[in-house]
């Protein structure tokens, strides 16, 4: 448990990182729809991830419309993979714990 990255383990941030892990880049609207968070909440989580160096946020324009692009950085990808591995390690021994119990005769 102590190996788990607490920043990623939080459900909203884990969803954001998992979404970004499977794409090259995504905009704020896509993340808003998929995470079902409020704009404020999503912004806060993205800032936390950006501060940790996990994501890269780029403010740009599509024509005259402002657009916020978000990408997972190499550090974020490595942290996500490490988190998944840690979760797997935690879950697998629990499966192996199924030892046959000897009933009293």
């Amino acid at each position: 448990m102590s190996d788990l990255d607490r920043l990623i383990h939080e459900p909203a941030r884990l969803t954001i990182v998992a979404l970004l892990s499977s794409v090259k880049e995504a905009d704020f609207l896509y993340l808003l729809r998929e995470t079902k968070l409020t704009k404020g909440n999503l912004s806060t989580h993205l800032i936390r991830l950006e501060e940790a160096g996990y994501v890269e946020i780029e403010k740009t324009f599509r024509g005259k419309i402002p657009m916020t692009l978000v990408r997972l950085r190499a550090e974020g990808r490595a942290a996500f993979q490490s988190y998944r591995k840690s979760m797997k390690d935690i879950l697998e021994p629990s499966k192996m714990r199924r030892v046959p119990v000897q009933l009293p005769t």
Partner: protein, 203 residues
């Protein structure tokens, strides 16, 4: 202890999102119609080199035009409504694998078409299996319908002895393309209803 979210489910969201507007189905459907139809025309016309080249060029131009139109529609209609997402670039190994697959399928198709002894039902089974796999993988009910329709088309084609062999396979391709385009159009209409263009685009 379980992860707080189903990571495997979340990671396939992008692929599902890419297909949710129905545009991919319309595009692939039209591509099938253009390619299958183009080859059918080629078979029907006299085998003059100029005509062969012309039909090939028109088919290729049609495919390129569809690809361009698909990108434009995504940018103008889908992204402002449901958000922009770019799928990752294929790796070098994936490109090699894709080229090898295209080469193998193209070579096998050319061999089978030249032999004039194509079993339409075998092609239908392959298409149906691909649709079935895609439907299950990306949880797309429309793909399951496509699988069923493909098998129905194959049965219908057996009633027409003139549509056997290579012509039958191409006719099947056009029929699958038409059904994909129609299903995609319905899905596109539903997508537009469910996702009106927002006034305020970004936070």
């Amino acid at each position: 202890m379980e992860p707080p979210v189903d990571i495997d489910q979340v990671t396939v969201t992008a692929q599902r999102h890419w297909m949710e507007d129905g545009l991919s189905e319309i595009m692939v459907g039209l591509l099938f119609i253009v390619m299958g139809g183009g080859l059918l025309v080629k078979l029907a016309l006299p085998h003059w080199l100029t005509l062969d080249l012309l039909t090939s060029a028109l088919t290729a131009a049609g495919a390129l035009g569809l690809s361009w139109g698909f990108k434009r529609l995504k940018q103008r209609i889908t992204f402002p409504r449901s958000g922009y997402v770019a799928l990752p670039e294929p790796t070098r190994m994936r490109w090699l694998f894709m080229f090898a697959m295209f080469g193998a399928v193209g070579g096998a198709s050319a061999l089978v078409l030249s032999a004039h002894s194509v079993v339409v039902s075998a092609f239908a089974a392959v298409f149906a299996a691909i649709f079935l796999w895609s439907g299950i993988q990306y949880k797309q009910a429309s793909m399951l319908w496509e699988a069923l329709l493909t098998l129905i088309f194959a049965v219908v084609l057996t009633w027409f002895p003139s549509l056997s062999g290579a012509v039958g396979v191409l006719a099947l391709m056009v029929m699958i393309g038409a059904s994909m385009a129609v299903i995609g159009a319905f899905r596109f209409r539903n997508f537009l209803k469910a996702n009106p263009r927002p006034q305020e685009m970004q936070a």
